[in-house]
């Protein structure tokens, strides 16, 4: 993979700090940030840092990875619904695939995403990690697409 320094640099605030844009007219929060509100067409938007706290809406464990990401396989990706009601797609970290659950509470941390194969440049970004360590005796199991609660 090739990494371009200016390309990574200009997205630093949205990638490192989870900066969104907020419409000054209708209040809609956009992530990824935009310059024109897609709700009311207003062109005055201000930047706002998101909390990074939310829960897993859905996830996948990707075994067949893309060129440049081989050393990270398998990668767990999730759509996380943040407290602000905004959805963010990012990898999960510090959790084993078998311990990931829909509804799991997570928080954003800054981590390495990938490395340039020739120059060794590194791109960073956010990943989500569980708010608390998963304990196997917790009462949710996930089998064959059916979420069931034990003891109920």
């Amino acid at each position: 993979m090739k990494i371009s320094v200016p390309r990574v640099w200009r997205e630093i605030k949205s990638h490192y700090l989870l900066e969104a844009s907020v419409c000054t007219k209708c209040g809609k929060i956009h992530y990824p940030p935009r310059t024109i509100c897609d709700n009311c067409k207003n062109r005055k938007l201000v930047r706002k840092k998101l909390s990074g706290e939310g829960e897993v809406l859905t996830y996948t464990v990707q075994y067949v990875v893309l060129e440049g990401y081989r050393e990270y396989a398998p990668i767990i990706f999730a759509v996380v619904r943040l407290k602000e009601g905004v959805n963010v797609l990012a990898p999960l970290t510090d959790v084993k695939p078998e311990n990931v659950r829909v509804g799991m509470k997570v928080t954003a941390v800054l981590r390495k995403i990938a490395e340039d194969e020739d120059l060794g440049l590194i791109k960073y970004g956010i990943k989500f990690k569980p708010m608390k360590e998963f304990r196997s005796e917790e009462n949710v199991t996930y089998e064959s697409g059916k979420r069931t609660r034990k003891n109920s």
Binding site: P32, T60, L66, L89, P97
Partner: protein
């Protein structure tokens, strides 16, 4: 506005053709289509293709293919909308005829994928997503669809085995289609035991990587009957786009661009979903097949796997879905797929499809680029 007809078609088999590149594949399909109309002159060429640039280092595809296929120094260009390129090419060709700019155009689709290992092809395919906010993290296209599949199964309480009816039916249909890439049947058990690509998507939930080319000749009302005894009308067209960042969408279990494009195509053709006899839908992955049926108005949300298990949408039912075998088993030569679908529906309405035949007068073809980011829906009538 002129009515627009399909008067000629040509297809290659889909597969791994190490001896053929973009130009050879395309010329083969174009020649077959030209033979159907007695080698009449073509006024313009529109080519659907996604990855000639990223995989074959070939831009300026329109000029290359018009030249190589012997079409002369005509206007020629490529249209790109990721996996939906073929559908958008047909949409563009339709517009050029309907508007009166041309009387006879060729709409082609071609994709050459099998030059490189899967991880490189997957990277090129993943460029259909948001480069800065999805591809940035290394998520593949299969990965994005897996997020939707889990949500679908979770929300509607559908089991792995219930989902597997889609690939089972598609492989069964494709086994009769001489153009199909995967001409063998599979069982639910084989689907459930195939390797995991991106959990819960398994190998047999996924459309294969393959090469192929398709060509259509579109003609205006003025000349259509001179070129073909069985012209098929493009009676309705619709196209819509959606947020490319999938997580931004309010509802992840419906592709709004399908709903909007179908609504427009149905309105134009003055039909309802119940009038459709045969449909070719864009089932790049099992879950998309089900969601498409729901978005196109053929079944209720979350009910499609169960209905299909009971025999709905199989050959003999109305509509019959993907008698070709769909992307799942006919194959998915990305930018050509939308053109294949229209050619297949055309053959069904003409009565000369060489696989499973569906009797009827009204057909539909739906083509998706990205995860529902660009969708075209076309209604064809005999």
């Amino acid at each position: 506005m002129s009515k627009t007809y399909i008067v000629g078609i040509g297809l290659t088999k889909i597969g791994r053709f190490f001896g053929k590149g973009l130009r050879e594949l395309f010329a083969e399909a174009a020649s077959k289509a030209l033979e159907e109309i007695g080698n009449e002159n073509i006024q313009a060429l529109i080519v659907g293709n996604m990855m000639s640039s990223s995989l074959s280092e070939q831009d300026n595809l329109g000029a290359l293919l018009a030249d190589y296929a012997g079409l002369g120094k005509i206007p020629a260009f490529k249209v790109e909308a990721a996996c939906g390129s073929g559908g958008v090419a047909v949409y563009t060709g339709y517009s050029l005829i309907a508007s009166g700019v041309f009387d006879v155009v060729m709409v082609g689709g071609v994709e050459k994928q099998t030059e490189y290992p899967t991880r490189i092809v997957s990277k090129a395919l993943a460029q259909a997503a948001d480069a800065e906010y999805e591809l940035f993290y290394g998520i593949s296209f299969t990965g994005l669809n897996a997020l939707i599949m889990r949500l679908y199964m979770d929300t509607y309480n559908v089991s792995r085995d219930e989902m597997s009816v889609w690939p089972v039916l598609m492989h069964k249909n494709a086994s009769k289609n001489p153009y199909a890439q995967l001409r063998f049947e599979v069982t639910k058990d084989q689907v459930a035991k195939s390797i995991v690509i991106a959990d819960p998507i398994r190998l047999l939930d996924s459309s294969p990587i393959g090469d192929g080319a398709a060509a259509l000749i579109l003609a205006s009302e003025k000349v259509a009957r001179k070129l073909s005894d069985t012209p098929i009308e493009i009676a309705g067209v619709g196209m819509a786009t959606d947020h490319i960042y999938v997580a931004y969408r309010k509802n992840l279990l419906s592709l709004e661009a399908t709903v909007l494009s179908a609504k427009e195509a149905y309105r134009m053709a003055k039909i309802e979903p119940k009038d459709i006899d045969v449909a070719e839908v864009h089932d790049a992955f099992t879950v998309l097949g089900f969601i498409n049926m729901e978005d196109l108005g053929f079944s209720e949300r979350g009910k499609t796997p169960k209905l299909m298990d009971e025999g709905r949408f199989w050959p003999g039912d109305k509509p019959t879905v993907n008698p070709s075998g769909g992307l799942k088993a006919r194959g998915h030569p990305v930018g050509a797929t939308g053109v294949y679908q229209v050619a297949e529906v055309t053959m069904q309405l003409r009565g000369d499809f060489p696989g499973i035949k569906v009797k009827g007068d009204v057909g539909l073809a739906q083509s998706i680029g990205g995860l529902g980011t660009t969708v075209t829906t076309l209604v064809l009538k005999r």
